[in-house]
Symmetry: C2
Subunit: 464 residues, 2 copies
């Protein structure tokens, strides 16, 4: 134990209870990884604050000792965001997981960062409300804001950034700010909400969030549409969007992924390239949308469209979709998950997915393709033997080719998983001179670089 770590630990003990601060090896190992293939690294100390005031004090200790701070929700990130490569203090927000206020008339909810999306939705259901953003993992809201997460419903309701009305944030000097307000819109000052959402813990610690919520729709219909080829399925999605159908969810699951889903979720869905669809609205309007969609998918050689009539079947469908990454992990013991995450303009989606499949085959890799295709965002899921250097190299080559294809078409290297450590190498190519602006903002707000250092943005003169 280094002298600095010792000092940090003692300074933290001065205001945290014994069970709130630990250097226990098991606990450090638990906070050394996320759900991805990225290599692990241990924090020096793990803390469990109960309040923003405690977080502020922790940040002050870190600032004084120039020690890194890594905010940690549940560790479900996929690009190494929470792995403490520079060690330091991991702040685990699991004790700050409360719903603080439901303002049902304003369609707003105020929560602590450690609450998960399913905990939040359980509470909101009592009010006839729901929170829309649903990444595959049952992630924490703080983590979802940090990476600007999205999911199956963003084609209709938007991404995490669209839901955030206000954040309470602890800055690098321990001061607390609010980034927004509770009004529906504002033109007052720089839009700090959107800057802090997606900043991946590199600018401050989120200690509270005020989020937009929605009334549970009057009527919901879900469906599975099976296609002969993945190309037909993708082109059907493009046609649905261009026809202006206000679809609430439209997810692509390819044949290998349907097999994994059936195995893991004990379903017996047709093992063909499939679209999972959902429509929200009033009954007559929704029926009109459904009929129109049926015509469109028929034009794209849909083999069968099956409607999930009751609530239980509908929930089973979306659970199977949400659990797909876990289905792959479960089906490939000992291997680690690597997921590509590009997003392209809709007109480029069919070409992009075709290109990705060709590259997977060329490199003799095995994986599934799925994604939130209504947004132009798709994933290739690969299960890697991280001890096989050749396989890892091929997977990284694939990622590079997929990213290059997307960037050449004005897309992005990450639609929803974030940069973390895994996408830093593409930032210069994607952002060009704008990366320097981001660097200047980082320096202006965290000059000592204590917040999640060497993630998202490189420190000058350092290579990671």
């Amino acid at each position: 134990m280094s002298l600095t770590v010792n000092h940090v630990f003692n300074d933290l003990k001065a205001f945290l209870k014994d069970h709130q601060v630990t250097m226990n090896k098991t606990m450090r190992v638990q906070h050394s990884h996320d759900e991805s293939y990225h290599k692990t690294s241990l924090p020096d100390v793990v803390v469990f604050p109960n309040s923003a005031d405690e977080v502020s004090k922790i940040v002050k200790v870190a600032s004084e000792h120039h020690t890194p701070i890594i905010p940690y929700g549940l560790g479900t990130s996929l690009e190494g965001h929470v792995i403490p490569y520079d060690h330091g203090i991991t702040i685990d927000f699991s004790k700050m997981n409360k719903v603080l206020e439901v303002r049902e008339k304003d369609f707003l909810v105020r929560v602590q960062p450690g609450i998960t999306r399913s905990q939040l939705n359980k509470e909101l259901k009592k009010y006839g409300l729901f929170f829309s953003v649903d990444p595959g993992a049952d992630a924490t809201l703080g983590g979802m804001a940090a990476t600007n997460a999205s999911g199956t419903t963003s084609v209709k309701y938007g991404v995490m950034r669209d839901q955030v009305h206000d954040l309470e944030v602890i800055l690098s000097d321990g001061q607390m700010i609010h980034t927004g307000n509770l009004a529906q819109k504002s033109s007052s000052g720089y839009h700090l909400n959107s800057l802090f959402v997606g900043s991946e813990g590199t600018l401050g610690c989120i200690t509270e969030l005020t989020l937009k919520v929605y009334g549970i729709p009057e009527h919901i219909v879900a469906a599975r549409a099976s296609f002969t080829s993945i190309d037909d399925a993708v082109e059907a999605v493009v046609s649905i969007l261009q026809a202006g159908v206000p679809i609430a969810r439209v997810e692509l699951v390819d044949e290998p992924s349907m097999k994994q889903a059936n195995l893991f979720s004990d379903t017996n869905y047709k093992e063909k390239p499939t679209l999972f669809l959902e429509f929200h609205g009033n009954e007559p309007g929704l029926n009109h949308d459904v009929e129109f969609t049926k015509e469109i998918v028929a034009d794209h050689l849909c083999e069968e469209i099956y409607f999930e009539e009751d609530n239980a079947a509908r929930n089973r469908l979306w659970e199977a979709r949400h659990n797909l990454a876990y289905a792959y992990i479960h089906g490939n013991p000992g291997k680690k998950l690597m997921v590509t995450d590009v997003c392209v303009p809709i007109s480029e989606l069919a070409g992009a997915i075709k290109h990705a499949r060709e590259k997977v085959n060329e490199l003799d890799l095995h994986g599934g393709i799925l994604g939130h295709v209504g947004d132009g965002n798709y994933h290739v899921l690969l299960m890697l033997n991280t001890n096989d250097a050749e396989e890892v190299k091929k997977a990284e080559q694939l990622n590079q080719q997929i990213v290059d294809y997307a960037l050449q078409r004005d897309g992005t290297c990450t639609g929803e998983h974030g940069v973390g450590i895994g996408k830093m190498k593409y930032q210069q190519k994607e952002h060009g001179q704008a990366l320097q602006v981001m660097e200047n903002i980082k320096s202006a707000l965290d000059s000592k670089r204590i917040f999640n250092p060497n993630k998202l943005i490189h420190q000058k003169g350092r290579s990671v």
Copy 2:
């Protein structure tokens, strides 16, 4: 003419044609004001660039001489944003007003900043598309992005910030960046789009915008609903929103404003507190929404709801609404417009409007109340004799009281008009410590403070 101005002029002449750079008094006077009551001030030089490259060179000249740059669209701002209180160079973007690309399949359009919203919509109509944001003025898209403008449709389609996918921006050193990409969503790096939207020309010059557009809805229905009291009208809006009706527009116009509208627009609408409504969607769904809305307004003592069946009548309705500020200006020759612009959580809207009406009466001022009440955003319009110090003082007192009321309820001092010079005095109260973060960002990106100086954010040690 000062020596510096002379140098600046000569340096600009080195690469701009004669008609692109002027110190002509008439032209300077034209660029000395906006549409508000704020006092005027002359720029030293006005330039008319044709390209981003020319803008970059202009910024370099300004940077070299520490001369202010004021980006200028059409001068329709309402808080003095474009008034050059520190003189310098006004960049008039009227020559950069082209649609550069319509990507109809991606629902995106790329435009230059000097194009107005009506010019853009005329072009988009050929493709069956429309751009949603519609402030009262036929403002330029560059100006609308700079203030994060909104209008009658934001309750359904969102504000300017929600439409911006990418900006081309010239920074204070003359370098060009892109703030985004063409994908539907992205988690790659800090969200510069949202930082530059609403930055009011204080961080850089926008030279190109890529914006989200929408398919013209299959079916549109507009209506006017008249109420006995303004309170009933406001409460009807709150009920419509809380019932989850996906209304596309819901605007409040009070009795005095209905009178002004009839006079100016040659309409004969009932002169009662009125809601202007619009519904977008497929026919069966929309009919269902209309019937539901009829029931809700009836519950709130609606006297009459009148549906505008044909296109011409519908356009007349919205034109009358959009022209309301001009109706007041036209009806009060010699006077200047002052408009309050707070936005409050929906649950606070009825109370806020009631409070505003009481204060108007108490101060013996005369004005109308109207606004985008579906967002919780409303305006008190006052026509001021700016030579009457007492009247101006009373109007400022009213503004202060209305802002205080909104801030006490976690609202904002400006829902859509921006800060400019008029709302700077409320920034500390609204943002607290977060104002320092904004200040740090300003310093990091424009250390010489050449971009629209002393707007939105004070320079330390200066009072304005």
